[in-house]
């Protein structure tokens, strides 16, 4: 079961007076993998916090599965939009990992056995299945972040929002998170991720939204968006390493992954010294 999400001329002003989102209209259809990038303070988190009702629009509307979020509580929206927060220590509470991951499904009304089954499969997805009996605080910080991810995956929501999933993760942790993003999308569910890791973004997201000053500056296919050097510079966003290198070598191709880069290197013209800075 997958649903679309839509922002219609969304404005949001914090009580302190700062207008963090200044008119955003955006549609994400079911099954899409969208990365939202931009400097801190660009309005990324403020935007996605409207999806599960944490924030309510100052003006404009947010549709999840066609219905407005205005008249539904966070707990109700939680059945459709799973939200993985940046800091796992602000949600892990149970004395074992398994019990914590079952918290979401139990709240959605799953029977204890079904919740346990969902938790087991979610922990397997993040490769923590054999630590289910451990206390969360006996794990390393990056493993705890994966427990929090499993806690939302177990709710099997049609939309999953990830806030900085790779921050504080080591190499293996990033690979596991990447695998999760791919598997969620493969099931036809929608993934919306906020990230600063441009290489992770290039390799695992088919659409990128660049935000700055509370507005969408660019939105489209990953390859196309990362080619708009001017827009990226204004939004203080560094393009992925391989794209920067390809441009520097004067290639026409815009490779997103190492494999694409090597493939492109065989086809690019071999004229010496054509270096475009």
């Amino acid at each position: 079961m997958s649903i679309a999400i839509e922002f219609i001329d969304l404005h949001f002003r914090y009580p302190g007076g700062v207008e963090a989102v200044r008119g955003v209209s955006l549609t994400v259809s079911a099954g899409e993998r969208v990365a939202i990038v931009g400097e801190n303070g660009a309005g990324k988190t403020t935007l996605v916090r409207h999806l599960n009702g944490i924030l309510r629009p100052t003006s404009g509307t947010v549709l999840v599965g066609g219905a407005s979020t205005r008249d539904r509580s966070i707990a109700q929206l939680a059945a459709q939009v799973g939200y993985v927060f940046q800091n796992p220590d602000e949600q892990l509470f149970a004395s074992t990992i398994g019990a914590d991951v079952e918290f979401g499904p139990r709240n959605l009304g799953c029977t204890p056995s079904e919740a346990a089954a969902r938790a087991a499969s979610a922990l397997a997805t993040v490769q923590l299945q054999d630590q289910a009996g451990l206390h969360p605080h006996h794990l390393s910080p990056s493993e705890r972040k994966r427990v929090a991810l499993a806690g939302v995956l177990a709710m099997q929501t049609p939309v999953v929002v990830l806030d900085e999933p790779t921050t504080g993760q080591d190499a293996r942790g990033v690979e596991i998170v990447a695998g999760v993003v791919d598997s969620i999308a493969a099931q036809g569910r929608t993934v919306v991720a906020i990230t600063h890791d441009m290489d992770f973004c290039a390799e695992h997201f088919d659409r990128v939204v660049v935000m700055a000053d509370g507005l969408v500056q660019a939105d489209g296919d990953t390859r196309a968006v990362f080619d708009q050097v001017g827009t990226l510079e204004r939004a203080a966003v560094e393009p992925p390493q391989l794209l920067r290198l390809a441009a520097h070598l004067g290639w026409h191709a815009r490779p997103l992954t190492p494999a694409e880069f090597v493939d492109a290197s065989t086809r690019e013209p071999r004229d010496p010294g054509t270096r475009v800075d």
């Binding site: 707990a75 927060f85 509470f93 149970a94 709240n107 709710m155």
Partner: protein
């Protein structure tokens, strides 16, 4: 930012050494409680506290903060003691079973005046003294620097912990937490809310302890201070005179009664 209510107007009262102001506060409390008649408190409020507030240019905040604290207390005091004061005998007003006694009202007046004086004096100190200066001055006067660390860092941690509590609530609601209607099952909801707060506390404690040791907090060297606290001989003299006046306020009535 700290949670303290400090209002930095830079007035002469602000520039006083915090210990002087603290000694003044304590002396006023002793005097007001040693001479428990209501007019003593009234004189202190009108003669000392209000002028000081005007000089310190924070009369407005004093009335606002003081008022918010005092209003419910004074109203309740007058009602409760007026109507039900145990020693009440001479009826002043009666309506059905309710009767207000003059002794009750006098008791409420005496106690109320003292509470007003106590609250206004403390709030004035808090409004005119930055907690950092108060702590540095007390440490210089011999208080253990561990107190100064605890109070200052707590004041600055509270805003961060408030936002952490909000974040925990949001995170659990985002996982479908809804507060059950019947109170008994609400206790079950306690763990998902308090658990992260307390568990997070231990991680902080481990890191903060390490950071404090790394900064020589456990050292037994004679501590120094980067900022000097303003002081003057006049204030040093005042810090001896005021307590003497307070002691006199306690001793004189006792001697008077004996004679």
């Amino acid at each position: 930012m700290t949670q303290a209510q400090f209002v930095g107007t830079g007035s002469p009262v602000h520039r006083l050494n915090p210990v002087t102001k603290l000694v003044a506060l304590l002396s006023i409390l002793v005097i007001v409680f040693a001479l428990p008649q209501w007019w003593v408190s009234a004189i202190v409020v009108v003669g000392v506290l209000l002028p000081a507030a005007v000089i310190a240019r924070c009369g407005g905040p004093l009335i606002a903060v003081g008022g918010r604290i005092l209003l419910p207390i004074v109203v309740v005091l007058v009602l409760v003691q007026g109507l039900t004061f145990p020693g009440g005998r001479t009826m002043v007003w009666q309506w059905g079973v309710l009767s207000v006694t003059s002794e009750g009202l006098l008791f409420a007046l005496n106690v109320g005046a003292r509470i007003v004086c106590l609250v206004l004096a403390s709030v004035l100190l808090v409004l005119t003294t930055h907690p950092g200066d108060l702590m540095s001055a007390l440490t210089e006067a011999g208080m253990s620097p561990k107190f100064s660390y605890i109070i200052s860092s707590t004041l600055q941690l509270i805003p961060a912990f408030r936002s952490r509590a909000d974040a925990i609530l949001l995170a659990q609601q985002a996982r479908g937490l809804a507060v059950p209607r019947n109170p008994l099952r609400r206790i079950g909801v306690m763990m998902p809310l308090l658990g992260p707060l307390v568990l997070g506390m231990f991680t902080d404690v481990e890191e903060r302890g390490t950071a404090m040791e790394a900064r020589g907090f456990g050292s037994t060297a004679r501590r120094t201070a980067l900022e000097a606290i303003p002081d003057s001989t006049a204030q040093r003299v005042a810090r001896w005179v005021m307590p003497l006046v307070a002691v006199a306020a306690v001793v004189v009535p006792l001697v008077w009664e004996v004679l």
